[in-house]
Amino acid sequence: MWRVTLKGLLGHKLRFMLTGLAVLLGVAFMAGTLVLTDTIQVIFDDLVASVNDGTDAFVRSNEVVDSAFGEERNRVSADLLPQVRAVQGVAQAEGDLQFYAQVVDAKGEAIGNPGRGAPSFGFIWNPGRLNAYRLVAGNSPSAAGEVVIDRGTAKKGNLRVGSRVKVLSQSAPEDFKVAGIVTFGEADSPAGASVSLFTSEEAQRLSGAVGQYDGISISAVDGVSQEQMVRRIDAALSDPKVEVITGATLTKENQDQFTQQLSFFSTALLAFALISLFVGSFIIFNTFSIIVAQRTREIGLMRAIGASRSQIVKSVIAEAALVGILASAVGLGIGILLAAGLKALLAGLGIDIPAGATQVLPRTIILCLGVGTFVTIAASVLPSRKASRISPMQALRSTGSDPMKQLGRRSTIGVVITAVGIGSLLYGLFGNVGNPTLFVGIGALVVFLGVAALGPVIARPVSRLLAAPLPKLKGMVGVLARENAVRNPRRTASTAAALMIGVALVGFITIFAASIKNSIATAVDSAFTADFVVAAKGGGPPSLSGFSPDLAQKIKEVPGVGASSGLRFAGAELQGKGVFVIASDPATSTQLFDVKPESGDFKQLGINDVAVSSDRMKKEGWVLGQRISAKFPKGASTLKITAVFGMGQQAGLSDYFISLAGYDAHYTQQLDSQVYAKVADDANPRVVGRDIKKILKEYPTAELLDQEQFKATRSGQVDQILNLIYALLALAVVIALIGIANTLGLSIVERTNELGLLRAVGMTRRQLRSAIRWESVIIALLGTALGLVIAVFFGWALVTALRDQGLAGFVAPVDRLAVIVVLAGLAGVIAAILPARRAARLNVLDAISQE
């Protein structure tokens, strides 16, 4: 039996290469993701470890808020430092600060790639073992007005020791002299981040932490273990809001935080790899089904000479297993190369990942080989069972195309599966369940399987409909294309199903993005009553950057500015729940945002007040004037509900507003994410805009936008993500195209006689190619039509489910969906190129004399 299997493989190399390709690509994607993230993980773990290399213990506040913006921790008093230094066994103890500091070069440009690339940080320059940096030029910062920068920043900004630079931080932009240049080990900078180092006093001033540190790093004398050190310091300190941890714990925590962020990234990529494999499984299923049908005689003969059913099953499965293992192994190899390529690509985008050995963990190898082989075998189970049902008698009959049996039963099964999938999806979206992603994901998967099961039933009528104009357009060629597309609905359907999945996901994400963009536009239209907004170029993450409040102050002073305010986004815990909070100037908020005040008074918002949206009030059952508990980085407090307003989260804002004064009191870093300004009634907006732009010369990371531009940049951000997802889904679509090409290729082999006859009675090569091309287009359009129906349903369901989270409503972007249809048609043309060429090359005589 094994010999038969091997012969089968060797006899149809091209066919199996194409089938293998469907698995290979998905596995390569998966391997690439795993290897890349493992490599980045190890590099980063090393980086964190070397940053904390000299740290044996760390003193910090135990007041911390964990929100969507990450972990924000309170600072500690600098008074702790002498106490810590006095503890026996402490070799060295230094205060640490990490804060926003952006170096601006002589041309006035921010160095690095703020808003997209690695972040820019300021630190205290610490001497000795507690310094992770190495001076390669100049000296350490020793006075006010001196900064030490990393060599990466120096190279990018063309800076030398003695150069004058501007530094943006939470205080107003200031001039500094470059006192020295450092490297991070051998690297120019730690993972491409921009680093500026200051004296302790300067750092405290620039970060608004006078008399404070983020924490205190301690290096112990030889012979004192980390645990001993922690115990001794802990005993010496009496502040209940302070905790001491070992250097090892600190390293582990930092590493785990990064692992968490990275795993979000890798999970997303793996999901796309699995989608590709899922699509690939349809191709495998289809290829094996066709092969079994074509080998009916051979299998019948084997049955006749005594092969048992289970031997037939085994021989097909063995064939699949071999293809699966080979393809997975090659895919794994390609994935490893791909990871190296991706790393280079990221570096090209400004995300420098330091050199480090490529990590191919045993887990990666096992997972990739296992999943790839499993998918291939699983997809061949049904075809193998079909093969085993071939009777010895069928060896004697000619290979007939199998007629559509049991259509009724198939429809019922398909409808039931689809309904179950839809049910699970809707339950996940609307059922208030604990793990909605699971129900939605499984629901979507089952919907695909259900529609695929229905495929053979709907393929014929839908294809006929789609191909209706063809005979008019292309005459007999069109008729032949249409008839060939529908002659084997089972085959056509499962070929189209692979593309259906890709198109459904592409269409869904297109619809979803359009709905988001629409609701952004609606929100900006309805809530944005300011004339201008100053926002970060490229829309950088608000937690890593922002503008000094100095900017808002300067804008306020521009003649003709009527009302203005900085706006800050933050995370907090209210009544024990993590929430998203906006801070703004209560005096001007209602002029800048149409928040539709309902009761209470926005202007009365003080340090310990909060304004809450009416939606939220209803949901939580709160009343105006009620006090609610709150937890901020600077500690717990009680907030009074002072105002209620109409437009919260559904307008793209937040359900909670606090005052800037409140933010000052409750948060450590003071950076505005955006600044809003409204032009006074008697002023000329153009003049005011020009004057604000003058101020922005000092703030190269900021840009001035009017309402339309603001909308456009927000939509642009959505489009960026959309394009990224398109790129990730492209592989699934490519695999589906390979599937179409594979099916057409196999069908052409079956139709050799027929093609020869057509050529003999006068079909030109061009006509033959055209017929195959159109057949391919019909199959592609069938997949696209089914995919778009699913896409509209998925899009509608998700948008409806997210309505109270700020999504205005379902929007189907007809123009973009039309582009998808056209592209799918073109894809069909491309998939047909090789099969058509092969068919046209058939020798007429061989073809007609072949039995």
């Binding site: 008729v479 002659r487 006068g762 061009r766």
Partner: protein, 246 residues
């Protein structure tokens, strides 16, 4: 060599077809000279492997000769590129093969009009009615080949060959797979096409009875013409076959 009274629809001049080389060399056609007159029904006979199919294929532009020339009317086929050769087949020739003559996805009528519709043409409707009537399918024109009997299928194939009014129809053992009743239906149909419409037909057969439907029989052996017979009957054909065989 032959006295041909009418103009020739197809001819081969010193045509040779050699397969393989050296020891394995096979001369399927050996400097053959033959002409087929317009409006005549010619049968080609000969033992298996004598080159009958090869002759038909080179005459029909499905294959090329190794040396010599082949003409359809005045056109020398070896000078034509694939595209033009295809158009000659489509517009000037008709074919009937032994089996697998019809496209399974097209119905009988679509199969009949296939060469015409590939050329973007329509049969002249009087002629189509006549052929359709002669083919005797009645109400089965909308049926697909797998719903027709073998004889019906071959008659559809003959109808297809006739419908474009080709200069010549080539048929390679068109009744080879048919029972005698179906055979005579197909052969009568071909005979009628020659008698009533002046069609030229060249048919390969190994059946003396079939050959008797023709106006002329050409006997082939080892790739060249060995004998021929005008106005054959089954008896004269069998007689001649016996002579040649012995």
């Amino acid at each position: 060599m032959n006295t041909v009274t009418k103009t020739s629809a197809a001819r081969a001049v010193d045509a040779s077809k050699i397969y393989g080389s050296g020891d394995a060399e096979v001369r399927a056609l050996d400097s053959i000279n033959v002409e087929f007159a317009s409006g005549m029904f010619t049968a080609i006979m000969g033992p298996s492997g004598s080159g009958k199919s090869t002759l038909l294929h080179v005459l029909a532009g499905l294959d090329t000769v190794t040396s010599g020339e082949v003409f359809i009317g005045d056109i020398e086929l070896s000078t034509l590129k694939d595209k033009d050769l295809t158009l000659v087949r489509r517009d000037r020739l008709g074919f009937v093969f032994q089996s697998f003559n019809l496209i399974p996805t097209l119905n009988a009528l679509e199969n009949m009009t296939l060469p015409l519709s590939l050329g973007g043409r329509k049969a002249d409707s009087a002629w189509q009615d006549e052929v359709v009537k002669a083919v005797g399918l009645g109400d089965r024109l909308g049926h697909r080949p797998n719903e027709l009997s073998g004889g019906q299928q071959q008659r559809v194939a003959v109808a297809r060959a006739l419908l474009s009014k080709p200069e010549i129809v080539f048929a390679d053992e068109p009744t080879g797979n048919l029972d005698s009743r179906s055979s005579s239906e197909v052969l009568s149909f071909m005979r009628a096409a020659v008698d009533n419409f002046g069609q030229t037909i060249v048919m390969v057969t190994h059946d003396a009875g079939a050959a008797a439907y023709a106006d002329r029989v050409v006997f082939l052996a080892d790739g060249s013409i060995e004998a021929e017979l005008m106005n054959p009957t089954s008896a004269t054909v069998l007689d001649r076959m016996k002579q040649l065989g012995g």
